[in-house]
Amino acid sequence: MAEAAISFQGVTRRYPQKKGSGDVIALQDIWLDVPQGAVTGIIGRSGAGKSTLLRMVNGLERPSSGKVIVNGHNVGEADPAALRAIRREVGMIFQHFNLLAMRSVYDNIALPLEIAGVDSARIKPRVNELIELVGLTQQAARYPAELSGGQKQRVGIARALATNPRVLLSDEATSALDPDTTRQVLALLKDINRELGLTILLITHEMAVVRDIGTHVAVIENGQIVESGETYDVFSRPQHATTRSFLTGVTGVAVPHFIADRMTAEPRSADDETVVQITFVGPHATDPMLARLTAELGVSVNIMAGAIEEIGDKPFGSLIVGLPASRTAEARAFLEQHGLFTEVLGHVS
């Protein structure tokens, strides 16, 4: 793989507390490579350390120990002038947009260029180009108070791209938006990622955001990365309980209510049915497998729910089936042998 755009190397961040009550450890020994040109999602609960991690990338926070390398620069050790140069190569968008209320859309987008000392003759074409890119030509003269949330975030995105950064950071950029607008903004980010080859690092507490645009994902809990990798792999084979709980309801299918209500952890009799979730790769992988399960092992399969969706540009399917409890172990071994992932969810009688 190409050199990482951002590399966290053993990063720890402590916040000293006032009354000697021990430091808050916001991040602990983070090792993470963010691949060039990828859309990497960092997901975690409130207080997990997501913002702290993201803010290290443009030096808004400095590590207590460890290194953060961005586009080959060590951010933590950059002097103020070098840091400002790095920041021009790293755009950032925010949950609450952080637009200047007294500046029009046009002037908000021009701000980073003014700050970078670009001369005014060159600012104008660049700003107009960006306004077009984010689809706000009609709103160029308006002020933020006259825009919808989605439009404000488009301004935020245009502003973040103004200086042609190589990396875009997003701190919960869609958390203040409704689901429809969220989809539009995510689609815009995805387009930008594709067209400009921009590396995007975004943090979120919603797995749906990662599902929609993340090629890679890292799950963070209590300041530590508990799982990371390509979105597809993490989604199809979540290793950590936190990842699983984030995935609930986001991928695959839920157990239908009338079954879930009757489900128990342990079988109550040998005649019980085991409820198994099967996750599969590729659109055609299951039908023959389920048919063969019946044909070769004589195990009857009771399909309860199923769906196929696209994650990280690859088809991703889940099925929930009922298998006779007495044959479950055998059937699972058979399916796993053929490359499907299975997980026992419970039992019904």
Partner: protein, 224 residues
């Protein structure tokens, strides 16, 4: 009312306007930078220098706690040193400026502190220097509030000028005391009061109008 008196009222009005205008200008030139410094120099802020912040804060508080009339008399030697005389309209500008500058400093400080810290963060993330953040973010974003603060300062100054008669400062307040009160000419007193009220009204209205012109937030609530 005699033509003579009307001339006197006119002259006094101009003197008051002159004192208020120059003191506002000088007060802003001194108080503005102080206000910016106070708003940006606490620990962890743009120009983090907590000790200097505390010292400047103490000086500003001290200056603000002295009643104007006492300040005006107490600094007579200083006034004489600056202006060459301690008497007259120009001399009165010195205590007026010293009284209003710390007030303006605090007003501007609080206006700047109201600016959403997210905007500072955004500007930092763009690679802005502290000076750029002050110039391009803090001051423009705080401008409506700063204008309203300056309006308040000007209205206070109009009040202060009424007291400079004590140190030979002339102006409307002085006229009101010497003619309206000491010579018992109620019509002069009334005229002084009315002119002052009108002056304050105009300043206030103008200030609010300019502030509204600067303010681009929530246009629907501004009734335009």
């Amino acid at each position: 009312m005699s033509a003579n008196l009307i001339q006197l009222l006119w002259d006094s009005t101009l003197q008051t306007l002159y004192m208020v205008a120059i003191a506002t200008l000088l007060g802003t030139l001194i108080g503005g930078p102080l206000g910016i410094f106070l708003a940006t120099s606490r620990r962890g802020e743009l120009y983090s220098s907590p000790i200097a912040n505390t010292v400047v804060g103490l000086v500003v508080n001290a200056a603000r706690s002295i009643p104007f009339i006492i300040l005006a008399v107490a600094i007579i030697p200083f006034t004489r040193w600056i202006v060459g005389t301690a008497i007259g309209t120009s001399a009165a500008i010195v205590p007026l400026t010293i009284a209003v500058a710390p007030f303006i400093a605090r007003l501007i400080e609080s206006s700047i502190r109201e600016v959403d810290s997210g905007l500072i963060e955004a500007a930092r993330s763009m690679g802005a220097t502290p000076a750029q953040i002050v110039r391009k973010v803090l001051l423009p974003e705080a401008m409506p509030s700063i204008v309203l603060g300056l309006t308040l300062a000007i209205v206070s100054l109009i009040g202060f000028t009424a007291m400079v008669g004590t140190i030979g400062g002339k102006g409307l307040g002085d006229l009101g005391i010497r003619y309206g009160y000491q010579r018992f000419m109620p019509d002069v007193m009334l005229a002084v009061v009315i002119i002052t009220i009108v002056m304050v009204q105009i300043v206030q209205t103008l200030g609010e109008w300019i502030a509204a012109r600067f303010d681009k937030r929530a246009p629907r609530n501004r009734g335009r």
